[in-house]
Symmetry: C2
Subunit: 258 residues, 2 copies
């Protein structure tokens, strides 16, 4: 049976037989997809659970599903990556959250760094955090991911560096920075968790580079050209997976179509 859509039900438990969707998810199915009772949908809980379900009843603000079967979820990456990213302006930040979700980050932490130019009022209060969470949910549904990354509160660089002491740190270095950085093609040691640091458009300050040196961060070059700020997390996450594989179960042999 053709699956008509993917919906997010964060409170679904593995032994639930039925699921009452939240108003926004119900609205999407009922009004946008114009789904009808009897049609099939996929459900994700944002924590790696994925189910096949049948639409039982369609109300304007409440769609009820019958859970049919648990599905094998799309495989997750082999390493839990926390992306710490210097704050960008609104639409750029949405773009970063979306692509970080699609490219397998497990957590995103928006950072205040020395060269961040976004004004404080732009990110204070719960508004941006709620929006970023919605962007992550939408990206998970669209890309086929069963995990929605956690979007943490905006954090100062120093506080971020003081946390997660046992994580390996990989920091992206802009072409204009006068520090030697790891070229693209070297292997990274695979560790269970990594913090991937991406600076704001103005790059890292000298103080921040010192702090990265203090934790023996791997400094990663993204090439000699200046990337768009929104492209940096895409390139950086791709470089990590090029070293570690897209999933923990990536098959070994190369393959060609014959």
């Amino acid at each position: 049976m053709k699956v008509r859509g993917r919906v997010y039900a964060p409170d679904l438990r593995s032994d639930d037989a039925e699921c009452v969707l939240a108003p926004d998810e119900s609205h999407h199915l009922a009004q946008v997809l114009r789904i009808r009772a009897g049609e099939s949908v996929q459900v994700i809980d944002g924590r790696g659970g994925q189910w096949l379900a049948t639409v039982a009843t369609v109300g304007r603000r409440e769609v009820v599903l019958t859970i049919d079967a648990a599905l094998d979820a799309t495989p997750e990456p082999p390493v839990l990556v926390t992306l710490g990213i210097g704050l960008l302006k609104g639409d750029q930040m949405d773009s970063v959250i979306r692509d970080a979700t699609v490219l397998g980050a497990s957590t995103v932490v928006p950072l205040v760094t020395d060269h961040v130019t976004v004004p404080t009022k732009a990110w204070q209060g719960g508004g941006p955090l709620d929006r970023w969470h919605r962007v992550a949910v939408a990206a998970a549904k669209q890309s086929g991911r069963a995990v929605v990354p956690a979007i943490q509160d905006v954090t100062h660089f120093d506080a971020f560096m003081a946390s997660g002491a046992r994580d390996a740190v990989v920091a992206c270095i802009e072409p204009s920075a006068d520090v030697p950085a790891r070229p693209a093609r070297l292997e990274f040691p695979r560790t269970p968790t990594v913090r991937l640091l991406v600076g704001p458009e103005g790059g890292w300050s000298a103080t921040e580079l010192d702090a990265l040196g203090g934790v023996e961060a791997d400094l990663l070059s993204l090439g000699p050209r200046t990337l768009r700020a929104e492209a940096v997390p895409i390139v950086a996450l791709t470089l990590l997976w090029s070293s570690w594989g897209w999933t923990s179960s990536t098959p070994d042999p190369p393959s060609r179509l014959r």
Copy 2:
């Protein structure tokens, strides 16, 4: 002296002492950057040449530069990559051209494939090609690249496959395609030229997959999640450089800040 901007002068020759900029480049310097005589700019010819120059005279539609010195250009990638990409709609295609330029493609060929849904009238005539060239020029200037990739005419998939017979072919395979694809972490053999193929949003048809098999294309997996169409060339080019290095002179030893 602070360099105020980068300009594109495709007709500049290496022994020229002076350069009269075209109207659009002149307008940008004079009206947008409000540059004055005596200020410094960088000049690229789009073919790998890069110079330092001083503004001699500023007219509304004509800025004249005095060439001061040839500069070492930003290093180019170690392999000439021709990106063949299934046509996307206008703004997505602009985004692809821009990121392919920044990420080092040497040529871009917009392709008509079986699953392309962009109507013929959207790409016929010289309009789109002119716009794509301007997007590539702007991206080269902004990213610090001295080479502007050639944007070829829109080409049918079959004609593209029939050309460049001795080039290696790498084709990106979408997660839903039921073919075995090379995982991210394997090494590609480095050849002087490569054609990198990216399908449209609907992916490759069975006929096209057969044709790719016929030329023993390397089929490249971009992971188990569905990427945004505009992100695919970024990820694919990054995977190539992760195997080959960002530049032909990428230094060997890994480095850490101490």
